[in-house]
């Protein structure tokens, strides 16, 4: 009944998208760190990292700690982190922990990407 965290990284102009699936818990550390690394290596001009949680079914306190670590690193590198696809319950947890003070929340990935990337010429 448990499903390991997986991440797919896409680099767009100025923005990198990390689509997460499965469970964001302590076991997700390697996956999330590698995904972030790929995002900023393949897109050196990346100013915003989108974490998409639409396919995530579970986030625990250790997963929150991982998200804090990613956010801390991004801030140190002057990058913005936004999130999309959170369920109402996890949006509430982002509010309670104050993560939503630092991470802008979008209802879904399409809206996040359309707002963050320049329209095609």
């Amino acid at each position: 009944m448990t499903s390991a965290c997986e991440a797919t990284t896409r680099v767009l102009p100025g923005t990198a998208v990390i689509e997460l699936s499965g469970e964001v818990d302590g076991a997700a550390a390697t996956v999330l760190t590698a995904a972030y690394e790929r995002a900023v290596t393949e897109g050196p001009d990346t100013s915003t990292v989108v974490l998409d949680f639409a396919a995530v079914d579970y986030i625990n306190s250790t997963g929150i700690a991982l998200i804090v670590s990613v956010l801390a690193r991004a801030r140190a590198e002057r990058r913005k982190v936004v999130a999309s696809g959170l369920s109402p319950h996890y949006r509430e947890i982002f509010d309670i922990t104050r993560l939503s003070d630092f991470i802008e929340l979008f209802p879904d990935l399409d809206r996040a990407v359309s707002q963050l990337t320049p329209p095609a010429a």
């Binding site: 009944m1 929150i64 700690a65 804090v68």
Partner: protein, 155 residues
């Protein structure tokens, strides 16, 4: 007024292995499914149960699979009470799990470990949380009212 005795809905044990908190939350959700807890409050209870079980596995029973985590679910009037017990006695926090209130600003500046959200989440998810210790037996009691609570107005 007639007093109704508390009704035990389920009692079970789990091996102290990482990941078993998912079994706990699924089983507790099944035990309370007919009690009228709305979806939002059910999700909160599930998160609290998962976090408390994780603490019992890691900090209480130190990931020793042979030491079980015991879980009892009771209905007492309009209250659902989940008791989660381990054999950790009076527990000391793990290094990195700060006993102080998590402060995101400090975590982001490196002044506090990124971890340490477990108890904070539990306290904010349920209507009441209590901890008791009897010798080695350490129990966390989570209470959720089926009819909602003022707690909900805050968020």
């Amino acid at each position: 007024m007639t007093q109704v005795a508390p009704r035990r809905l389920d009692t079970f044990t789990l091996a102290s292995e990482p990941g078993n908190e998912r079994l706990a939350l699924a089983r507790v959700a099944g035990a309370v499914k007919d009690l009228g807890l709305d979806g939002r409050r059910l999700e909160r209870l599930k998160t609290a149960v998962a976090e408390a079980t994780m603490n019992a596995i890691e900090h209480g029973n130190r990931n020793h699979p042979e030491i079980p985590v015991e879980i009892e679910v009771t209905q007492d009037g309009d209250r659902i009470v989940v008791a989660i017990s381990d054999q950790g006695g009076q527990q000391c926090p793990e290094p990195g799990d700060s006993p102080e209130e998590p402060d995101l600003d400090r975590k982001l500046d490196g002044g506090q470990s990124p971890r340490g959200w477990g108890l904070f989440l539990i306290r904010n998810m349920v209507d009441a949380m209590e901890v008791t210790t009897d010798g080695q037996r350490h129990t966390i009691w989570l209470t959720m009212r089926t009819g909602g609570a003022a707690h909900d107005e805050r968020v």
